[in-house]
Amino acid sequence: MVNRTGVVVSLDDAYLGRITEIARKLRAQGMKIDQTLAEIGVITGSIAGTDPRPLAGITGVKAVEPQRSVQLLPPDSPVQ
């Protein structure tokens, strides 16, 4: 089974109104899409493997970054 990497994609300002079209192109490049967030021009999902370059090369894509995650310390840890 191929490891999938979570990614977040940010659109160019000029393409904010064309998010559906960009999503289609991302899918064509192998991205599995979780969410299309029109208000902020972001598409989230995952790719097979770890190389984001096929996505980054699409016209209208400003940035592709791996998804980070945040983990809180347990509440009885001294600092929150």
Binding site: S10, I40, E65, Q67, R68, S69, V70, Q71, L72, Q80
Partner: protein, 414 residues
């Protein structure tokens, strides 16, 4: 001392050698040494100063050489040589001055048992707050004096959800949504409830003290971290989009991930935050808790607070000192600390049956700033998100601490 005296051709007397009651050095001496202070005050001829500096550089015992300053009282000017000033008053002033210096030296001198004041540094007494009616944080930020309540302002808290059954919020009706697949908004972890409480808690909670800032704001709770306190960028971004879609003016995010020195901010989050501002929404986030200042370790502001368009909040304690864990603005281009909020000993709501809890963290400082942003937004209807950020910073209370640690200072309510 011998090397200095030789280089400058001066004789420096030890203060303990002064004849009693004599404020100036014994005749023949060009200077006085205070052994307990490790300081010598010397009259050096101008042509000897190069030799003085050379000797000082060579001596491992000499730390610094400075020109002697003359200071004046800002409260009272005593014209020592004025003819109109009665001689008796002049003399008693001089005697008082001498006595004060003697008392200082005596106090610092080593006692017969070998102890001295120098071994026990004098610390400013810790500030004592009366928290019977209101938390210290709301007092220190002037919230208690504000006429504003956040009425008409929508504040989104994106965190671990909220205890929808908390009795202090019976008359509020938060708008809620979970962005964690398979989990409801109901707060299991607790932090979300605590931060909603700080930002928007009631003016008169069921049990004193009051702990909330914007008691009339419209509360939007987005659960972006799951019941184990974990969340992905995707969940957080979905929460942000939802808050914007609902017309929230302020987003409070008490969350983040650690960053490395030199690490640039996320382009994706910076774009998001910028677009949020363009749509009237200011994102405020915790600077992070990775520092260990007692050990001399400063950690840089975390993600996503390190984005230029996101307001990064540091934590101060009840003495208005930066908290030891608070991240510092050591990365450029957005990695600055913008402002500080109360972040130690913060009392606020907690899921029932516990009801309240004291916590510390930049997570607690952040909702103080968010709540006060709501007060400012109410005070200035139609204000843009960028102007709101600027107003928070220009009205902050300046602290005697570097901007690296506290940004513009301690947030203040209008």
């Amino acid at each position: 001392m011998a090397a200095i005296q030789k280089a400058t051709e001066t004789r420096i007397a030890d203060v303990h050698d002064f004849p009693s009651g004599m404020p100036s050095p014994p005749s023949g001496a060009d200077g006085v040494m205070f052994p307990e202070l490790g300081v010598a005050v010397v009259d050096v001829r101008p042509e000897s100063t190069p030799s003085l500096f050379a000797a000082a550089r060579e001596s491992s015992a000499v730390h610094v050489v400075e020109a002697e300053r003359v200071v004046y009282s800002t409260a009272l000017r005593v014209p020592v040589e004025s003819q109109s000033y009665p001689r008796g008053r002049r003399d008693s002033y001089l005697r008082g001055y001498r006595d004060a210096v003697n008392a200082l030296v005596d106090g610092l001198a080593e006692r017969p048992d070998g102890s001295s004041e120098l071994a026990a540094p004098v610390m400013a007494p810790a500030r004592v707050w009366d928290e019977s009616q209101v938390t210290w944080g709301l007092q220190a930020t002037a919230v208690t004096e504000s006429v504003y309540s956040g009425r008409g302002v929508k504040v989104a808290v994106l965190y671990t959800g909220f205890d929808l059954r908390h009795p202090d919020f019976n008359d509020r009706r938060p708008t809620t949504e979970s962005f964690v697949p398979g989990q409801e908004v109901q707060d299991i972890v607790g932090h979300g409830t605590h931060c909603v409480g700080t930002a928007c808690g009631p003016r008169q909670p069921g049990v004193a003290p009051r702990y909330g800032v914007a008691y009339s704001a419209d509360i939007f709770v987005g659960k972006v971290l799951d019941n184990s306190g974990r969340g992905t960028d995707g969940q957080i971004l979905a929460g942000i989009a939802w808050a914007i879609r609902n017309g929230c003016q302020i987003i409070s995010m008490s969350l983040g991930a650690g960053t490395a020195v030199g690490q640039p901010p996320s382009t994706v989050f910076e774009n998001v935050a910028r677009r949020a501002r363009e749509q009237g929404c200011l994102i405020i986030a915790a600077a992070g808790n990775e520092s260990m200042r007692e050990a001399g370790h400063l950690a840089p502001v975390g993600h996503p607070a390190n984005c230029p368009s996101i307001l990064a909040v540091a934590a101060v304690n009840g003495d208005l000192d930066v908290a030891p864990f608070s991240c510092a603005g050591i990365n450029p281009n957005g990695g600055e600390v913008d402002i500080a909020g109360p972040g130690v000993g913060v009392h606020s709501s907690w899921p029932m049956p516990t009801r309240y809890r004291d916590l510390k963290g930049t997570s607690m400082a952040t909702p103080h700033v968010a709540g006060i942003a709501a007060l400012l937004a109410e005070a200035k209807p139609g204000i843009s998100a960028t102007d709101l950020a600027a107003l928070l910073m220009t009205t902050a209370k300046s602290l005697p601490l570097p901007a690296r640690d506290v940004g513009a200072g301690l947030v203040q309510a209008p």
